[in-house]
């Protein structure tokens, strides 16, 4: 057994009120094993009775040095690390990373791959929102929400397994396209999901949206105004619930998002309930995009034929000398990227997921920085929980929809 260490409040002297130092208010640890912190997050709370006076988030329990590890891998191999960032949004992380690489080396992607990427990332957005809805229902003691939401999420993960062989750590998007084309069962599986899902969202809403117990817990708590949100770089549904209509899919369309007809749900209240409404409506909008994308899915290749960056198909290797050389070079050495830096961002279910990528002329990234939305969305938490009850803190925390893997990297 290691000896117990005595901890003093000295370290937090500048963050707590005077009354904490005299012992008038209580300092309480919430987490890192608390079930409602959605991962390993520790909140140091200063409490006056049951009222939160100060909240000091302590992150880093899940820090795995992903950015450092990526510097030691080639551009293709570094991609598997991105799955592990925000494990609720693996397809979206892959997309953000491959888009950054494609921008850095200037690589085109065939149309079919773009449409498939849109379908899969939108399905991932729905799956991520379902996990949020289920777990935040669970936090408010609505156990059935959790079971219903995970039932539908399972169906989406089955589609991911169908296309990539993996339910969560997909690594399905590759620089220049996709790993391989989707199997023939793909379309039917997505159509099945499209058929049942609108009714299921209605079902969730019938359980929660007008439920008086739910409204009592959600209305008017955790208010975040637009100016504070922007100053804290809060993005995604949290920003849109505070009345700022900013969605990268609309503002800076990528992957051909300009071709799809969808709305960006925005609410002005900025409270926990508004964030709930934005996410519920986003699920419906995402489904609209999936339907449109599936209807227009063109035939054709799913990988760029630029052999300097994308390995040739297996069938060519046996008959073509160049194909063999390209295959060998790409898998032993990797492809070089210019000595320059780019920043590219996508709209993840949580907000702006940006990748800062700097190359040094070699096959490995010189520096990768993942600008992860949960990091900033959590940094605003101390401001919005002040003056609320501990029970409300649970509701507010779940409404921020953080993923600790995304924060700690």
């Amino acid at each position: 057994m290691t000896e117990l260490q005595e901890v003093t409040v000295d370290q937090y002297r500048h963050l707590v009120s005077e009354r904490a130092l005299s012992g008038e208010t209580m300092l309480l640890n919430m987490g890192p094993q608390h079930p409602s912190t959605h991962g390993v997050l520790r909140l140091l709370l200063e409490l006056d009775g049951e009222i939160v006076i100060n909240c000091i988030p302590d992150v880093g329990y899940l820090h795995t040095g992903i950015e450092k590890n990526m510097e030691a891998k080639t551009y293709q191999k570094a991609e598997v690390m991105t799955d592990r960032l925000d494990y609720m949004n693996t397809m979206g992380n892959n997309l953000a990373y491959v888009m950054a690489v494609e921008k850095l080396v200037d690589l085109d992607v065939p149309e079919r791959a773009l449409v498939l990427r849109v379908i899969l990332t939108e399905l991932q957005r729905i799956a991520s929102h379902l996990v949020w809805l289920g777990t935040s229902g669970l936090d408010l003691a609505a156990m059935s929400m959790f079971l219903y939401c995970f039932r539908e999420r399972e169906q989406i993960l089955d589609i991911f397994e169908l296309v990539s062989g993996q339910r969560m750590m997909t690594t399905y998007f590759r620089p220049g396209g996709l790993w391989r084309d989707v199997p023939v069962e793909f379309e039917a599986a997505v159509r099945d999901f499209i058929k049942i899902f609108p009714k299921r969202v209605d079902e969730y809403e019938s359980l929660l949206t007008k439920n008086p117990l739910f409204l009592d817990r959600m209305l008017g708590i955790g208010k975040l105004d637009a100016a504070t949100a922007l100053s804290h770089s809060v993005t995604g549904p949290m920003l849109r619930a505070s009345g700022v209509n900013w969605d990268l899919r609309k503002a800076r369309p990528y992957m051909g998002y300009e071709q799809y007809d969808f709305n960006v749900p925005t609410h002005t209240e900025g409270d926990t309930y508004a964030r709930y409404l934005v996410r519920i409506q986003e699920m419906r909008e995402s489904l609209k995009i999936v339907v449109q994308a599936l209807n227009k899915l063109p035939f054709g290749p799913v990988r760029s034929d630029n052999r300097k960056f994308v390995p040739p198909p297996r069938s060519e290797i046996g008959v073509s000398m160049e194909a063999l050389i390209h295959h060998f070079k790409l898998w032993t050495e990797g492809f070089p990227a210019p000595q320059a830096s780019i920043y590219s961002a996508v709209e993840s279910p949580r907000g702006e997921l940006g990748v800062f990528l700097e190359g040094d002329g070699g096959p490995k990234p010189y520096r990768v920085h993942m600008r992860t939305p949960s990091f900033d969305n959590l940094s605003v938490l101390p401001k919005i929980v002040k003056g609320h009850l501990v029970a409300d803190l649970v509701a507010i925390l779940s409404s921020t929809d953080i993923v600790l893997g995304d924060i700690d990297r």
């Binding site: 950015e67 850095l104 100053s231 940094s379």
Partner: protein
């Protein structure tokens, strides 16, 4: 470069000097460390760059001057523009004035800079490590910090390696 971005970058250059790099439509403006707060305030107040999208650094070790570039990625929602500021820092005592007075999100990001690169942010209200434990040594994202590995144990040398392996024993 975007036509709307060009006058902003020109104004920035007129005020603070510094060169401008352009790559794939992105503008990277170099600013001296003592002028960064003024540059951020100018961009936020006069050109509506409301969002500090990202703040990070790059280490160019063994090159010592400048060894670091601190990067500020700014986004304007109103004009739908992005601009990047780069602040070169010397290696021996990397210090940059804090941006927390301009953007609140700089608070945690500068704690990350301190933690990962050892870049001090002058005037920061809460200078603690953020991701690594308080008692950890070194700054992992510096290029002179080794990646590290674990020695693989096989049946023939399991106990020998177990003796010197640094993990918590009873």
């Amino acid at each position: 470069m975007d036509a709307k971005l060009e006058p902003i970058v020109k104004a920035l250059q007129a005020e603070f000097g510094g060169e401008i790099e352009e790559f794939r439509g992105e503008a990277h403006c170099f600013v001296q460390p003592e002028q960064i707060v003024a540059a951020l305030t100018l961009l936020r107040d006069r050109h509506q760059f409301e969002l500090l999208s990202a703040q990070t650094a790059v280490d160019y070790w063994p090159q010592m001057s400048p060894r670091f570039h601190v990067i500020y990625q700014l986004t304007s929602l109103a004009q739908n523009l992005s601009v990047q500021l780069r602040v070169p820092l010397n290696g021996d005592n990397p210090t940059v004035p804090t941006a927390t007075g301009v953007y609140d999100s700089a608070n945690w990001r500068e704690r990350e800079l301190l933690d990962m690169f050892g870049i001090q942010c002058e005037g920061h209200p809460d200078p603690r490590r953020i991701l690594n434990p308080d008692d950890s040594e070194g700054h992992p994202l510096r290029k002179d910090y080794p990646l590290g590995y674990e020695e693989p144990q096989f049946t023939f040398n399991f106990e020998e390696i177990d003796l010197r392996k640094p993990y918590a024993k009873e």
